[in-house]
Amino acid sequence: MLGVEGDRGTIWGSARPAPIEPIVMSRRDSFAAVMERQLDAAYRLAAVILGNAGEAEDAVHDAAVAAWRSRELLREEARFEAWFTRIVVNVCRDRLRARSRHRVVQLPADFAETARDHDRSDVLASLASRDSIGRGFAVLEPDEQIVLVLRFWRDLTVDAIAERTGIPSGTVKSRLNHALGRLRTALAIDEVTP
């Protein structure tokens, strides 16, 4: 999985980022090497938060620029993953807030493949359910979307989420609880709306 502390679910499976060795981050080559090891994880996180792969590319680049500029603030290089994740999360939060009402929604990458392998009705049912979740997810606040992604996609613990978002653990718990409640409400409304 992707830099996780828990081992829940292996749906998407991927290599755990390699541990950071103590190196001098201020050097260009060292920075590039450390960044390279985190890049896939950061890109995927940004894409899941933003729901848009193209925008995720820009977000990761912005995060890398911010990280390079503020690299001297990282006191303990072994914590680079958490530190850089926090920067990525902040960049994504800003982008979510700045989004206009009209947004481009990408079809899932597995749409065509899934459609070949299943009955059309099953695919439509699956997409309908996903759309329903997507609509509910979209109405959540950016901070709520982020904690849901970190918890249910990246399977981080509450404390790990707190470290990567810069908010207290108690706030993470309440935000998770609130986000799930709002999502459930949105889905219930979606079900009764023709």
């Binding site: 390279e36 890109y43 899941v48 680049h61 001297e72 990458a109 997507g134 889905l187």
Partner: protein
């Protein structure tokens, strides 16, 4: 929908958003970041140093404001001496009372305000949390608001109250305005003038700046040599003036001042050759720890006749 079902659907929804490993373009773009992005250097140092400096400056400003806007013993009419006697038992006004140096804006204060504004600007522009950004903007507006009210020379004006000179003579023919002092030689005279705090913040009157002309042999000409005040219960006779003490004026509050002057060696009450005039009194006041000089313009110039040959 059950919790398990919700969690499962949510996980599937999020998994479907995962595009997999980053494309080559992302790797290439990020690897070029150190080459294409200017290093922090002094700019980075300033960006890091300014917010804490700004916070310290704001703290100083807040403490100063809170300390300055203390509730004074306001009696609704005149100003209240900050220290010293409050009644007619105070010593009488003599030459040299209340004379203080002219002040210029403090570089320290200007630097402090500038640092606070720049640092807060950086905070407002870069901070991620909205509440901090809004707080920084509010602090900027607060400093600008306070700054707009101080440092101006119009905080003090001649307000309600008696105005006149002692001793005086009738206005000689040939003069359309002015109150005239009867003085022979370098005699003492007094100007009675009411002064009001027109600003929106309290202030403390500190004294009067040395008046007169900055020329050699200046004692030939009229000059201000002291200032005192009249207690509320002793109105209108300049001879009853008390020695100056620091005076606290709330917004809109007035005080009856008595300005002590010397007429100059050339003064000659009986000779109508020419006249020297005093049309303003330079008062020094303190507001939010800042010292300022306000030229309080008199409703009519105070004139001293001279013999023209002195």
């Amino acid at each position: 929908m059950t919790d398990d079902r919700l969690e499962r659907d949510l996980r599937q929804f999020l998994v479907a958003r995962d595009p997999g490993p980053a494309p080559r373009s992302v790797h290439e773009g990020v690897s070029a970041v150190p080459d294409t992005t200017p290093a922090g250097g002094m700019g980075g140092f300033l960006r890091r140093a300014l917010p804490p400096l700004a916070a310290a400056a704001v703290l100083v400003v807040l403490v100063t404001v809170l300390a300055s806007i203390r509730p004074g013993p306001f009696d609704g009419a005149g100003a209240t001496p900050v220290i010293g006697p409050t009644s007619s038992s105070a010593p009488s006004l003599v030459e040299g009372d209340g004379v203080t140096a002219t002040v210029n804006p403090s570089l320290l204060h200007l630097a402090l305000a500038g640092t606070a504004l720049i640092g807060l600007g950086v905070v407002a522009a870069r901070v991620k949390r909205r509440v901090l950004g809004y707080g920084a903007i509010a602090a900027i507006l607060g400093i600008v608001w306070i700054g707009s009210m101080i440092g101006t020379s119009d905080a003090l004006e001649q307000g309600t109250g008696a105005f006149g000179v002692e001793p005086f003579i009738e206005r000689p023919s040939g003069f359309e305005t002015g109150v005239f002092v009867r003085a022979e030689g370098d005699a003492e005279f007094r100007i009675l003038v009411g002064v009001t705090n027109l600003s929106r913040l309290p202030l403390d009157l500190v004294g009067v700046a040395p008046g007169g002309y900055q020329v050699p042999d200046a004692d030939r000409l009229p000059r201000i040599v002291g200032v005192g005040y009249l207690p509320d219960d002793d109105c209108c006779l300049p001879s009853h003036a008390r020695a100056f003490t620091r005076l606290h004026l709330d917004p809109g509050q007035s005080v009856q001042l008595v300005v002590l002057g010397r007429a100059g060696r050339c003064a000659a009450a009986a000779v109508n050759v020419g006249a020297s005039q005093i049309d303003s009194v330079p008062l020094v006041y303190e507001q939010l720890t800042l010292l300022h000089t306000a030229a309080v313009h008199l409703e009519e110039p105070v004139s001293i006749l001279n013999d023209g040959i002195c």
